[in-house]
């Protein structure tokens, strides 16, 4: 039997595109090895290794931002502005989570070294999800992300709440994965390909059966991703899981899983944009429900973690509005406001949950509203940071949350989705009630507990809180360069921020503030991404000449340029052959 016919020419791989994921995943491997040989009872080596690995990964992402877009492995890994920024957000989320995790896990008496490799792999899974157009990679990335999260949610095994959280998350997550996989199978059946851009091609055939398969397939995929992003009919797990999981895991979950799920949703919906006549009305209803229902429920909650759980569901609704506005008129409205919202949301979420870990003490933690009474007296800094984060969650000017919400509101109006814009505004007002409830608790004078929880603020937690706060404030200055970069108008906006950042404040903040932070340029970009570790702003001269200038966009036919172009594999699409 002659088997040479099955020989496949090895694809020319663009390793630079894959590098960030490889770095994060292999940092996880190294961290696991250190965990095996570490001196007992200390995770310091693991943490520093992980932080350095994440810093290098963030640096490799920042360096790529000047490069042209492209893909490798036939769309399995993708480099475009949205994917780079979202990957950077995920790396940053993991980075900050590690900073405050150790002291918290130690107080909770669950200092397992395995937490760090699992979180790193989870991050890698999320990074794969936001940077792929291939349904196979989307699924594998989702599973890597989710399975690590299931385990981390159940890390506090001696607590029934943590176990409940893990088992609920696991069962519902597996259910959602099944939906997603079924949807992928149907789409594959309709298109014969795992690549998302084939949906449009199959839809253009105008064949009745194919269309039905596509509608069902995309619908099931939306259900699966809706579970992950906690959109409203599929949100039931979120508050319980958020409350039961260890707080640092909750913060990581709320930020990373949401960013990854929304990123994947963006790819899927962009691929299926031709079918928008079918899914757009449904998603508009889902967005309205996702914004309204959790906000109403959150007003009656007494547990801060639960409140933030509902708040994160509502935020998913706001993000969905931005996404729908972009998909309603993709030419007019870009994805940049949605990505900007995600950046701001991730910073606030990590900062807020970091502050919640302050109450952990002797294996217990206090996350009821009453546990925060007197926080102002105990920790003025923590209370101040909390006010700032809550302000950003509400959307008070000069915080990142304000510009993020304003941008999405504008997009919704410009896209003709005025109803969604109105609902968003009303819900922002409703949410003030419970957000301010958290602040009020921090400033209530009397303490109900005889033994106050959490007496000192560990340095890692202090750093995370301050860095996130600087990021929340500083991101306003980077609104213009971020948006310019994402919309592709100025591909060099990120690689030389001093020039663009100086124009940012004058354009955006001239009416609102006078420079709330004394030293915006050198401080805020690293705070946004990875303070301390990676070189903050690489001048363009430092960049290695990694990409060929004649890189083509993935949509154009890449067959001819396959020899030179480092981004596209030789086979335009290997998937249909199987």
């Amino acid at each position: 039997m002659n088997l040479d016919q099955f020989k496949v020419a090895p694809p020319s791989v663009d390793w630079i595109t894959l590098l960030p994921v490889i770095l994060v995943a292999s940092t996880g491997l190294v961290a696991l090895l250190i965990e095996m040989f570490r001196p007992k009872q200390t995770n310091v080596a693991i943490i520093w290794t992980s932080l350095i690995g994440l810093g290098v990964a963030a640096g490799s992402l920042i360096l790529q931002m000047g490069q042209p877009s492209g893909d490798t492995f036939a769309g399995m890994a993708l480099r475009d502005p949205a994917s780079l920024v979202l990957q950077l957000v995920l790396v940053g989320v993991c980075f900050f989570t590690f900073f405050f995790s150790e002291s918290y896990l130690r107080e909770r008496r669950i200092p397992f070294g395995e937490f760090y490799p699992l979180a790193l792999w989870s991050t890698a899974g999320g990074m794969i999800m936001v940077s792929t157009e291939n349904l196979l990679m989307l699924f594998i990335g989702l599973e890597v992300l989710s399975i690590s999260l299931y385990v981390m949610a159940g890390m506090a095994r001696q607590e029934s709440k943590s176990e409940e959280s893990a088992i609920k998350y696991f069962l519902l997550g597996a259910f959602a994965s099944a939906f997603l996989l079924y949807g992928i199978a149907l789409v594959y059946g309709a298109t014969g390909s795992l690549h998302l851009d084939q949906i449009a091609r199959a839809y253009a055939l105008n064949d009745g059966l194919t269309e039905k398969l596509l509608i069902f397939g995309v619908g099931f995929m939306l259900v699966g991703l809706g579970f992950k992003a906690a959109l409203v009919p599929f949100h039931q797990w979120a508050p319980d899981v958020y409350q039961g999981a260890p707080t640092n895991v909750t913060g990581f979950m709320a930020a990373a899983a949401k960013v990854a799920a929304i990123g994947a949703l963006y790819r899927v919906l962009s691929g299926a944009v031709d079918l928008s006549g079918t899914w757009m009305p449904l998603l508009i209803i889902i967005a309205i429900l996702t914004m309204t229902i959790p906000n109403l429920i959150a007003c009656q909650q007494k547990n801060v973690k639960r409140i933030l759980g509902y708040s994160s569901i509502a935020n998913a609704g706001y993000i969905l509005v931005g996404l729908l506005a972009h998909l309603q008129s993709p030419d007019k409205i870009g994805i940049e406001t949605t990505v900007f919202f995600l950046v701001s949301y991730a910073l606030v979420t990590i900062g807020m949950f970091a502050l919640l870990t302050l109450n952990a003490r002797d294996g217990k933690e206090g996350t009821e509203l009453s546990d925060f009474y007197g926080l102002w007296n105990r920790h003025p800094l923590a209370a101040g940071l909390m006010v700032l984060f809550v302000a950003s969650l509400i959307g008070i000017p000069i915080t990142g949350g304000f510009f993020a919400k304003l941008g999405i509101f504008n997009d919704a109006v410009n896209a003709g989705l005025t109803l969604l814009a109105i609902v968003l505004a009303i819900n922002s007002a409703i949410s003030c009630y419970y957000y301010l409830g958290i602040v009020r608790a921090a400033f209530v004078a009397e303490e109900t507990r005889p033994q106050p929880l959490g007496s000192t603020m560990p340095p890692g937690l202090r750093f995370t809180g301050i860095a996130c706060a600087v990021g929340v404030l500083g991101i306003s200055f980077f609104l213009t360069p971020i948006q310019a970069y994402l919309s592709g108008k100025d591909p060099n906006a990120w690689t030389n921020p001093p020039a663009t950042a100086s124009t940012g404040p004058s354009e955006n903040l001239s009416s609102s503030t006078t420079n709330p932070s004394p030293d915006p340029d050198p401080d805020q970009d690293p705070a946004l991404t990875n303070p301390g570790e990676a070189p903050p702003d690489q001048p363009p001269a430092d960049q290695p000449p990694v990409a060929e200038p004649d890189e083509q966009s993935p949509q154009e036919s890449s067959g001819e340029a396959a020899g030179e172009s480092e981004g596209t594999g030789p086979a335009a699409n290997p998937a249909p052959s199987r």
Binding site: L3, A25, A124, L136, S148, M155, R157, G569, A571
Partner: protein
């Protein structure tokens, strides 16, 4: 009747009988053992269709790994002969039988209809699905997915160890 058809009928018959045995036998251990037989016969069916890799995988993964796990669980949980598995009489068996017949009819129609007078014999190229062919594809165009899947398995292993580990004393 060709020898291939006879082989198929024998293998398919054993597979069907053992599949019925899985649900019909009362003892969980026996059910599991009959399921092993079913998986083996199914693997031979794959071999007879020329899908060697699929057959080998079936034996290694299902008969080897998964069924051993099943037996472990059954024996560890001490699920011997019990009568508690016999359920009360209600509508469930009837619905189950109707669904089963419906599924059987659906699958049978997809097999029998193409065998009719207009039946065309579709076949893959010789060697399709062989270990070499799959290997070439897996380690070229799908190398990235393959490597990430290995991370996925590692997550599963580390996660199960973390969750099963004894409580930390400190």
């Amino acid at each position: 009747m060709t020898s291939a058809q006879i082989t198929f009928l024998i293998l398919a018959g054993i597979a069907a009988i053992s599949a019925i045995g899985v649900v019909a036998l009362n003892s969980p251990v026996r059910s599991a053992l009959v399921l092993v037989v079913n998986f083996f016969v199914l693997a031979f069916l794959y071999f007879s269709l020329g899908a060697q890799l699929l057959g080998i995988t079936q034996i290694l993964v299902y008969a080897g790994a998964i069924m051993v796990l099943f037996l472990f669980v059954i024996m560890l949980l001490n699920l011997g002969n019990t009568n508690s598995a016999i359920q009360k009489k209600d509508g469930k068996p009837l619905i189950g039988i109707i669904c089963g017949i419906g599924l059987f009819g659906l699958i049978a129609s997809q097999i029998i209809l193409p065998m009719g007078p207009r039946g065309q014999t579709a076949g893959a190229a010789p060697g399709y699905g062989s270990p070499q062919a799959v290997g070439y594809t897996l380690f070229t165009n799908y190398a990235w997915a393959f490597e990430i899947t290995s991370i996925l398995l590692l997550v599963g292993i580390v996660g199960s160890i973390l969750l099963a580990k004894r409580r930390l004393k400190s």
